[in-house]
């Protein structure tokens, strides 16, 4: 299992903070964030998408992203239609994400309405460059999905994109009530990964998309270090279930499930990340 104890990259400032917090610091998981404000749209609209490599349960620290290897959307209107892949690399714009420990390279994209004005599902995919984690002397590459639906017509929300590491939803990622559950299957190149290790974090600090920083105050206080990053295991078919205790965004990351295990002569962890949005029933 990877936790901050093994993945710490935070330098002197964060080491100092760790000392201030005490020896038993909270576990933090690296998460590739792929965010847009609203995933269940009544009709198509222009979208602002934020891409950030960070620790969402703790509002940082954030790490420098390299130039992504891929950024695209696979859309489908209705379950009988064919999926359509649209490359979005031209919309990538580098931005500096502000954080207590300095700034981190992040990316954003302003997508025109014409890209997502049809009914159906839109599976946004980010294939980031491998990130060198000096604390572990290894690379991490998190293949990340975030889904948007327009108009309530379902499409390819449960289908595989075909990533080296991927979480297949068993429930729609854009239609979840607080108090419900979310289910998925961890796959590597389409094959289920038995007993996969997963980490789950709540996006506990709102994203300030104008100022490119996290909100200063968290949404919730963790009673103990185990709660910031929830560690779970998939069953022998690669399936998992998580409870959705609060409205907002939940990130799910399956660790080291991809088949590529080396990058530039060092170990490589290919992870699968899926983001889901949860709403209160009111």
């Amino acid at each position: 299992m990877r936790t901050a104890a093994f993945r710490s990259v935070h330098g002197v400032l964060w080491a100092g903070l760790g000392i201030a917090l005490g020896a038993a610091g909270p576990a933090r998981a690296h998460f590739q964030v792929l965010y847009t404000a609203e995933t269940a749209l009544d009709s198509g609209r222009a979208m602002h998408v934020m891409m950030l490599f960070t620790h969402p349960g703790h509002g940082g620290p954030s790490m420098d992203m390299g130039q992504p290897e891929g950024f695209y959307v696979v859309s489908q209107r209705g379950e009988e239609a064919a999926p359509v892949k649209t490359d979005l690399m031209q919309y990538l714009e580098p931005v500096r994400w502000h954080a207590e420990q300095g700034q981190a390279q992040a990316y954003q994209a302003d997508l025109p309405r014409t890209l997502a004005r049809s009914l159906g599902d839109y599976v946004f995919v980010l294939e980031p460059a491998p990130f060198y984690e000096s604390g572990e002397d290894k690379y991490i590459q998190q293949f990340t999905k975030m889904l948007v639906n327009v108009g309530g017509v379902p499409g390819n929300w449960g289908a595989a994109v075909g990533l080296p590491a991927e979480i297949l939803p068993l429930d729609k990622p854009y239609a979840n009530w607080t108090g419900g559950v979310f289910r998925g299957v961890v796959v590597a190149s389409g094959r289920p990964v038995p007993n996969a290790e997963l980490e789950v974090e709540y996006l506990n600090y709102a994203l300030d998309l104008e100022g490119h920083r996290f909100a200063s105050e968290p949404e919730v206080q963790y009673p103990q270090g185990s709660f910031g990053t929830l560690s779970i295991k998939a069953n022998d078919r690669g399936e998992f279930v998580i409870g959705l205790a609060r409205a907002g965004w939940w990130g799910i990351c399956a660790l080291t499930v991809g088949t590529d295990t080396e990058h530039e002569g060092k170990p490589l962890s290919q992870d699968a990340v899926l983001w889901i949005q949860v709403k209160d029933m009111r």
């Binding site: 009709s43 198509g44 209107r77 209705g78 239609a81 309530g152 017509v153 379902p154």
Partner: protein, 105 residues
Amino acid sequence: MRKTLAQWAGLAAALMLLTPASAHSPICNCYDNGDGTVTCEGGFSDGASAAGVAIRVVDGEDRVLIDGKMDDSSSFSFTKPDQEFHIVFDAGQSHIVTIFGEDIE
């Protein structure tokens, strides 16, 4: 063998139980293409295709201006009328969606 009324009633009840659930809702969305045409897309909440579903463009006095059907991709495009209009996506009883021209962006 002749069936009794009770047997027929039982058969009817069994058939009703076998009838697939029909909880889907019709969905239609239209957008202005910016070139004088409008495209409407249809579908259902269970992901079913809307190919072949009737669609009508109607004026303010309920006169049908254009009478058409959704194509194989569940879409229908038409030239935007000069006068006030609305669109009726008609997938049968209780499966009708109406969209007013002024709401189309």
